[in-house]
C-alpha cells in the first residue's frame, strides 16, 4: 500500500527565522491509519501539520527542500484550496473556526464556497450533523453552544467535504476532561466508520490514548525522535526526555521501581497486564509516607451563602459557602459554564450577589469598589493578550501603581523588585510583543503582583501550555505562594494542575458547590467527577487493579512523592 502522506528528507525554514523548523523529516502515513503527533511547543509539530494542509508555504512563507506528497499531490504546488479537498483541518480555536451565524451555515460553509446547490446542501448537512450528533443544534448561534459542541460543529464542517485525511490541531486544548473524552471517542468513531486517515496533534498524551491510536510520532527540535506503537513508546523514556507528560499511571509505576515492557500493553490502564508489577506497587504504597497535616491558619477569604442570578428564577450560583485560609493554594473546578467565572466576578465585585456575603480577612467587602478590591485581590485573566494594554513591559507592570498616583521613584523600585521576582528583570526595557506566551503570562501576573495583593485569582493559568511551560508557570506560582505567602485560587479544569499543585479543590456543578475536599478524593469519586465533568484519575484504576483498597490514599501518596521529587530536582538545578 502506498502512503497517503509521505515526507522524504523534508526540511523547512520560515522566512522570518534563522534556523530550519523542520529538519530532514522522513515519515510515512498510510491510508486509514490513526497517528498521534506529540512534541513540546516549538518542536515543529504544528509546522508539520501546516505543511500537510498547505498553510505552509501559502500562509506562512518559507523555503523547503526534500519532498512531501499528500494523496499523490505536492501541497506546495496544489495550494490551500486544492488541499482542502483532501485534508480537513480542525483548528484549536473553536471560536475562530466557527464562522457561520448558525451551526447549519457553518457546516455548509465549504459547500457554499464550492457552489453546491441549496437542496443538496440541506441533505449533506443533515447527514454529517447526524454523524457528529449535532442535529438538534442546527439553528443555534455559536454563543448558545459549549466548547465541546463548537468543536463537533468544526468536525462536521470538514467532514462535509468528504476529505481523506482529518487533521486535528490540539483538539483537547479548550475542553474540560469529560468533554475531551467524548471528543476522543467521536474521533475514534469517525475513524472506524468513515475509514479516514486521522492525524492528531496534541501534547495531552494520556487523554488521547483513551482510545487506541496506531502509532505515535514524537517530534523534538524539528526532527522525528520516535515513530512507534504506543505500547512500545511507553516502555521507553523518550517522553520524559522530550518534555512530554507520561500517563500518570506510568509515572506511578516507574516511581514504584517498575520497568515497563511493551508486551504488557501499557497503552490503557484498564487492560494493561499488571501481574509483574502488582507487588512492587503495593510495596511502594506501604513504604511512602504521608505529609503531616499543618495547623489551619486564619481565614483569608470567606464566601458565605452566596446566591446569584442574572434573571430571577434562573440561578447561576446557589448557596455557595467556603473558606480559604491564608497561604493556601486551591483550585475551583467544574465544567465550563458551571458558574466558576461568575464566582470570581462576584469576588472581584464586577457583579453583586443577590444574597450572601464575601469576607476578606474577616470583614465584609460588600461596600468596597472594584478598584479597592483590586488592591487586595488580584485577578489574572486566561488570555494575557486581553490584559496587556501597554507596549512596553515596564509600563505594563507599572500601570496599576501609576493610576493610583504612587510617586515615580517608588513605582520604579516596586516594579523592578516585582520583575526580579518574576524573572523578567533582564527584559525590563523590552516591548511585550517580543515575549513568548508564557512570558506574557508572567508579565500579567507581575502587573497584578506589583500591587501586593493578598489573594491572587488566576483563570486557567496553564491553558494551552505544554508540559515544560506548564511546569514553569506552576512552579513560579508555587514559589509565590510559599515564599511570599500569597493565597492563590485557580479556576481550572486541568486535572493535573489540581492534583499536583493544589491542596484542596472546590467543585462547582450546575451552580452548586458539590465538594470541598482534597483533589485526591475528588478525582477518585466517580459521582463528583461525573457531575463536574471531570474524569477519574488513572491512578485510581491503577490502585484498584493492584488491590489497594484505599485508592485516595494511594493518590495522596503519589502526589506527595511527586512533589518531593520535583522539589529535589529544583534544589539540584539551583546548585
Amino acid at each position: 500500500m502506498l502512503p497517503i502522506i509521505e515526507f522524504k528528507n523534508y526540511t523547512f525554514q520560515y522566512r522570518s527565522q534563522k534556523e530550519p523548523t523542520l529538519l530532514d523529516i522522513n515519515l510515512a502515513i498510510y491510508p486509514g491509519e490513526k497517528v498521534l503527533i506529540v512534541g513540546p511547543s516549538g518542536s515543529g509539530k504544528s509546522t508539520l501539520a501546516h505543511c500537510v494542509n498547505g498553510m505552509v508555504p501559502f500562509s506562512f512563507a518559507g523555503e523547503s527542500s526534500g519532498s512531501l506528497t499528500v494523496s499523490g499531490k505536492d501541497p506546495a504546488k496544489t495550494g490551500i484550496f486544492g488541499m482542502s479537498k483532501t485534508v480537513g483541518t480542525v483548528l484549536q480555536d473553536t471560536d475562530g473556526q466557527f464562522i457561520g451565524l448558525t451551526v447549519a451555515e457553518d457546516v455548509a460553509f465549504a459547500l457554499e464556497n464550492d457552489c453546491v446547490p441549496q437542496d443538496k446542501m440541506f441533505s449533506l448537512v443533515d447527514e454529517v450533523a447526524e454523524v457528529v450528533d449535532i442535529k438538534t443544534l442546527l439553528h443555534h448561534a455559536p454563543t448558545e453552544l459549549s466548547g465541546g459542541q463548537k468543536q463537533r460543529v468544526s468536525m462536521a464542517g470538514v467532514l462535509v467535504d468528504d476529505v481523506d485525511v482529518l487533521l486535528f490541531d490540539e483538539p483537547l486544548a479548550n475542553l474540560d476532561p469529560a468533554t475531551g473524552k467524548r471528543a476522543i471517542d467521536l474521533i475514534d468513531r469517525i475513524h472506524k466508520e468513515k475509514k479516514k486517515t486521522i492525524l492528531i496533534i496534541e501534547h495531552r498524551l494520556e487523554d488521547v490514548l483513551y482510545r487506541d491510536v496506531d502509532r505515535i510520532v514524537v517530534i523534538g527540535e524539528g526532527r522525528v525522535v520516535a515513530d512507534c506503537k504506543p505500547d512500545e513508546l511507553l516502555a521507553t523514556d523518550i517522553l520524559v526526555k522530550e518534555g512530554i507528560r507520561e500517563p500518570l499511571y506510568v509515572t506511578a509505576l516507574k516511581h514504584a521501581g517498575c520497568t515497563l515492557r511493551a508486551e504488557d500493553l501499557p497503552q490503557h490502564i484498564e487492560s494493561m497486564k499488571l501481574d509483574r508489577y502488582r507487588e512492587r506497587v503495593q510495596a511502594w504504597y506501604e513504604q511512602v509516607a504521608l505529609p503531616v497535616a499543618e495547623p489551619a491558619k486564619e481565614p483569608a477569604l470567606e464566601v458565605l451563602d452566596l446566591d446569584f442570578s442574572y434573571i430571577s428564577g434562573n440561578p447561576i450560583l446557589q448557596n455557595i459557602r467556603f473558606c480559604i485560609r491564608k497561604g493556601e493554594m486551591i483550585s475551583i473546578v467544574g465544567k465550563n459554564g458551571a458558574g466558576k467565572s461568575t464566582l470570581s466576578n462576584l469576588i472581584c465585585g464586577f457583579i453583586n450577589p443577590d444574597r450572601g456575603k464575601i469576607l476578606l480577612g474577616g470583614s465584609d467587602i460588600a461596600d468596597k469598589s472594584i478598584k479597592e478590591r483590586g488592591e487586595v485581590i488580584g485577578l489574572v485573566m486566561q488570555n494575557p493578550n486581553q490584559m496587556i494594554s501597554k507596549p512596553m513591559i515596564f509600563d505594563e507592570v507599572a500601570l496599576g501603581l501609576a493610576v493610583r498616583g504612587v510617586p515615580e521613584e517608588e513605582i520604579k523600585e516596586r516594579v523592578y523588585e516585582t520583575l526580579k521576582i518574576c524573572g523578567l528583570y533582564p527584559f525590563r526595557n523590552w516591548p511585550v510583543s517580543a515575549l513568548s506566551f508564557g512570558q506574557k503570562k508572567r508579565v500579567t501576573i507581575a502587573s497584578i503582583l506589583v500591587m501586593n495583593p493578598q489573594v491572587l485569582i488566576l483563570d486557567e493559568p496553564t491553558a494551552g501550555q505544554d508540559y515544560k511551560h506548564y511546569t514553569e508557570i506552576m512552579e513560579f506560582l508555587k514559589e509565590l505562594n510559599e515564599s511570599y505567602g500569597i493565597t492563590i485560587i485557580m479556576i481550572t479544569h486541568d486535572m493535573h494542575l489540581m492534583l499536583e499543585y493544589t491542596d484542596r479543590a472546590i467543585v462547582i456543578a450546575d451552580g452548586k458547590l458539590i465538594a470541598d475536599d482534597t483533589p485526591a478524593h475528588v478525582l477518585t469519586d466517580e459521582r463528583i467527577a461525573d457531575q463536574a465533568y471531570l474524569k477519574k484519575t488513572s491512578l485510581y484504576d491503577l490502585a484498584v487493579r493492584c488491590g489497594i483498597a484505599d485508592a485516595p490514599g494511594f493518590v495522596d501518596r503519589f502526589i506527595y512523592f511527586e512533589r518531593q521529587v520535583r522539589e529535589h530536582g529544583r534544589q539540584n538545578s539551583d546548585v
Partner: protein, 184 residues
C-alpha cells in the same frame, strides 16, 4: 488593488465592523458641552483604514455606521453614514505611507497620519455631511454646519490622541526582536 483584496481583507472588514458596532455606545463625554461625546469608534475606524487601506476603511465606515445606528438606535441616518465611509477611504488612501507594518510609524509618519485624518474629517463632516443634511432633510445650513464642525473637531481630537496611540503601539508590535538584548 484588486489582487490585494483577499480573505484577510474580508475578515478585517467583518471584525472591524463588529468592533465599530460594539464601540457605538462606548463614548467619552466631553463634560463641558452637554450631549457631545468623543466617539471611540472613530479612532478604531482610523486604525483599520491606516492598517488595511481605503477599501477596508471605507467599507468598515459605511457598514459600521449603518449597522451600528440601525442596531442601537433603530434608524439609519444616511447623511452621516456616507461621510463615515468618505473618511475611511481618505485615511486609507495613504495607508502605505504610514509604514505601520514595517514598524516605523515614527515622528514623520505620525504627523502625516494626523494631517490626513484632519483632512478626512473636514471633508467628511464639514463638507459631505452638512450638504447631505441640506439636500435630504432641508435642514437649516447654519445648524448642520455647526453640527458638522463640532463632530469634525471631536473626531480630530480623539483620533489624534487615541488613534495615534493605538497605531504607535501596533507598529511597535511588529518591531524586530533581534535588536533586543537582555540586561542585568
Amino acid at each position: 488593488m484588486n489582487k490585494k483584496f483577499g480573505v484577510k481583507e474580508v475578515v478585517a472588514i467583518g471584525i472591524g465592523t463588529a468592533l465599530f458596532i460594539v464601540l457605538t455606545n462606548v463614548q467619552i463625554p466631553v463634560g463641558f458641552i452637554p450631549n457631545t461625546a468623543l466617539q471611540t469608534r472613530a479612532a478604531v475606524l482610523a486604525f483599520f483604514a491606516a492598517v488595511f487601506g481605503p477599501v477596508v476603511g471605507g467599507v468598515v465606515g459605511f457598514l459600521g455606521h449603518a449597522l451600528g445606528d440601525a442596531l442601537f438606535y433603530g434608524s439609519v441616518w444616511w447623511s452621516w453614514v456616507f461621510p463615515e465611509a468618505v473618511f475611511g477611504v481618505i485615511v486609507g488612501l495613504c495607508a502605505a505611507k504610514y509604514k505601520i507594518k514595517e514598524g516605523s510609524f515614527g515622528g514623520k509618519e505620525i504627523a502625516m497620519f494626523n494631517v490626513v485624518q484632519a483632512i478626512g474629517n473636514a471633508a467628511a463632516w464639514i463638507v459631505v455631511a452638512p450638504i447631505l443634511d441640506i439636500v435630504i432633510y432641508a435642514e437649516p445650513a447654519n445648524k448642520v454646519f455647526t453640527q458638522g464642525a463640532t463632530a469634525c473637531v471631536l473626531n480630530i481630537v480623539i483620533i489624534g490622541i487615541l488613534g495615534t496611540l493605538l497605531l504607535v503601539a501596533y507598529s511597535k508590535v511588529g518591531a524586530k526582536s533581534g535588536s533586543l538584548s537582555k540586561e542585568d
